[in-house]
């Protein structure tokens, strides 16, 4: 990698030598440079808004709200990565999210109690509704995937049809009305102060995360040693472990620094027979359920993409469809599965969205397809196929949401936010293209 000799407006100064130690650090620790860059960009955005708002922005309550708002798009983006990597597109995700959200509402207010005789007190009714909704999402995904993979209709056309017709079908599900009154347990999936796990469980999640980081580092090193491959120096392993655990625990501490509002805290004190001290009770809210679901989805999808044959085949097909076919891969079934997965994720996103509103409205998920595609693309997914990562797409969703939330925090209205989001989308991809050309 040489310096930027080609760009005339930037004189080739000592920049290269300045970044040299950093570059060496990156190569020794084998950090994904792109992901690292996105983390830096995210940090710059957050700190920038904090500065512009006079230090009011970067507070736990804002960050938790921002993160929860990003979860639906982020969950969908994890699946969109695999769809785009395998040279397809899914424009129907928003409509499908809305359709499944309406299905949950219909299930819990009508079908489960009136048809299947499961009253409001039926155990785990929320889980039954969730499972059925996931089935609905998977079925729509399978149908679209079948038409795309086996009949050979371009995914753009099929899912554009899905975008229109599934959104229309939402109206028919409820005769044009919003449905409210979901199960209280189901609403926890949407987050909020009630839908959070509390301080102790947040620390437990953090501890599990740290154990996981250490385990992955150790088992990876053992594995490489077993085959006699070169391994990272011990200090690099240690640094990665410390940084990983610090990041996890930092997020947990941040989430636990968000306290219940006074009325709820007093309610809590009453329920637990506590006396409210003069300064008020400080009861940590902790991580919201949707964030925990997003973490789970991200880990699972990353595992599927990197450690399973299916994931390998998705990337191989995206890199060279002919090579995948000639290697004996069942490419059609692979493509169909990416759409089934997308449908399942739409069901998960629908649960979060409906849970947050305690209702299913007709417009849940409207326009999501564009935000989801934008998140994946900002996260490094290429429309040429074969390139893209799941953590990148999740970070992309957070970058886009931070921008929107930060601007609205500063009083910029939603058209203004859209202008900014569009420009950032183009800048991110342009930067990528420039970077790639420079690299080759």
């Amino acid at each position: 990698m040489t310096n930027v000799a080609g760009t005339a407006n930037k004189p080739p100064t000592a920049q290269g030598s300045l970044f040299e130690p950093l570059r060496r650090l990156v190569s020794v620790t084998e950090i994904d440079l792109r992901l690292f860059g996105m983390l830096v960009a995210l940090a710059v955005i957050l700190v920038g808004f904090d500065f512009l708002s006079g230090g009011k922005f970067f507070r736990p309550v804002n960050m938790v709200t921002l993160a929860v708002q990003a979860t639906t798009v982020a969950v969908l983006a994890t699946g969109m990565v695999l769809v785009i990597v395998s040279r397809n597109i899914d424009l129907s995700v928003g409509s499908l999210t809305g359709f499944v959200a309406m299905s949950y509402a219909l299930l819990m207010t009508d079908i489960l109690p009136n048809v299947l005789g499961m009253g409001p007190d039926f155990p785990f009714r929320w889980a039954i509704a969730l499972a059925l909704g996931i089935g609905v999402g998977a079925a729509f995904g399978a149908l679209q995937g079948f038409i795309i993979a086996y009949i050979g209709v371009p995914s753009f056309v099929v899912t554009l049809g899905g975008l229109l017709s599934i959104r229309g079908a939402v109206w028919y599900l409820s005769n044009g009305a919003a449905i409210t009154g979901l199960d209280p347990a189901f609403n926890l999936l949407g987050g909020g102060v009630r839908g959070s796990v509390g301080g102790d469980l947040t620390w437990l999640v953090g501890a599990i995360g740290c154990v996981g980081v250490v385990y992955i580092l150790i088992s990876g090193r053992r594995q490489r040693q077993r085959y006699g491959f070169p391994v990272r120096p011990m200090w690099a392993e240690g640094l990665l472990g410390v940084l990983g655990c610090a990041a996890i625990l930092g997020v947990c501490a941040f989430a636990n620094n968000n306290f219940l509002p006074e009325s709820l805290a007093n309610q809590y004190a009453q329920d637990h027979g506590m006396v409210v001290p003069p300064g008020g009770l400080h009861i940590p809210v902790g991580l919201p359920y949707p964030i925990i679901m997003l973490i789970g989805v991200t880990l699972l999808m990353t595992w599927v993409a990197n450690r399973r044959r299916f994931g390998r085949y998705v990337y191989a097909y995206g890199g060279n469809p002919d090579a995948a076919e000639l290697a004996g891969i069942n490419t059609r079934w692979t493509i169909m599965k990416t759409f089934i997965l997308m449908g399942i994720l739409a069901a998960v996103a629908g649960a979060i969205a409906a849970g947050r509103l305690n209702a299913a409205t007709l417009d849940i998920g409207e326009g999501y397809e564009l935000y989801v595609i934008a998140a994946a693309v900002v996260g490094g997914t290429s429309f040429a196929g074969g390139v893209g990562t799941i953590p990148g797409a999740v970070l992309g969703a957070f970058v886009m949401q931070s921008l929107a939330y930060g601007l609205s925090f500063l009083g910029v209205n939603s058209p203004g936010q859209n202008v900014a989001a569009g420009i950032v989308l183009i800048l991110a991809v342009a930067f990528d293209a420039w970077n790639r050309r420079r690299g080759s």
């Binding site: 990197n306 044959r309 390998r312 097909y317 000639l326």
Partner: protein, 266 residues
């Protein structure tokens, strides 16, 4: 395993393709072609662009089904509907365009479609890298870029990956479609050495090449294709390059009318 090369009459053919026909729309790409390949034998398939060489081989490798005809592998009738069927019969193919997924690394490509897995079907990346290192040690000892995407490899390195894929899975029948087209002289020589080595191990090889000298250098027999049919399959030692070139151009056997002029043209 002792193998007598170039003595087709004494053993069971590894491959018999009988009366193969392939059409694309109105184009009869392969017409009633029959060909045999014996263990330890290299057959050079030559002919103009569009003569049907690659199409015939795509039938054998499962990439394109034949419209009619029969394939017999080691004396048993075989059904080859897709690349997986062919691989199950130990037929491996090295394609002209190498058919690598450029975004995957060398182990990813070598094991594509046949990944090693550990518990619960997890990909065993370290195991695959280890095996790739072993086979590359043999094919291209200078190869070190096991973790880089194949897009960053040179033509020779990509070729090594493509060949490694065929060799690793113990091919008995190898189809090489222009294996040296993208290579420099040194790399070409490496591929030639490899072909001789594989041949000595009893592997049967179909070699498609435009380079008549390559073909004469490596083949035991040469099959000339012209407009979808085989003009003739000849013993390498029984013909001259000019005679073969004459058959390629004129589509006629040596000694037939027209062959003399064709030779004169070259």
């Amino acid at each position: 395993m002792t193998v007598e090369t170039g003595t087709p009459e004494t053993s069971t053919p590894l491959v018999e393709m009988r009366h193969i026909n392939v059409s694309f729309g109105g184009v009869h790409a392969v017409r009633d072609v029959s060909i045999e390949l014996y263990p330890g034998e290299v057959i050079g398939l030559v002919g103009h662009n569009g003569a049907g060489k690659s199409t015939l081989m795509r039938v054998l490798s499962g990439a394109h089904p034949a419209d009619s005809g029969e394939i017999v592998i080691s004396g048993k009738t075989a059904t080859i509907r897709n690349p997986r069927d062919a691989k199950d019969l130990a037929i491996e193919t090295i394609y002209q365009n190498l058919a690598l997924a450029d975004n995957l690394d060398a182990p990813g490509n070598l094991f594509l479609g046949r990944e090693m897995t550990t518990l619960m079907g997890q990909l065993d990346d370290s195991g695959m890298e280890s095996e790739t290192r072993k086979v590359m040690e043999r094919l291209n000892p200078n190869f070190t870029r096991f973790k880089q995407a194949c897009v960053s490899l040179s033509g020779g390195q990509r070729q090594a990956v493509a060949i490694a894929r065929a060799v690793y899975f113990n091919a008995r029948i190898l189809i090489m479609d222009e294996p040296t087209a993208a290579l420099g002289p040194a790399e070409t020589e490496q591929v030639h050495d490899l072909i001789r080595q594989l041949k000595s191990e009893g592997i049967g090889i179909f070699l498609i090449s435009h380079d008549i000298h390559d073909v004469f250098d490596l083949s035991d027999r040469i099959s000339v294709m012209y407009q979808g049919h085989i003009v003739e399959t000849v013993q390498r030692d029984a013909v001259s390059t000019d005679e073969v070139l004459g058959m390629i151009i004129a589509g006629r056997r040596p000694g037939e009318n027209g062959a003399v002029e064709a030779t004169a043209v070259t």
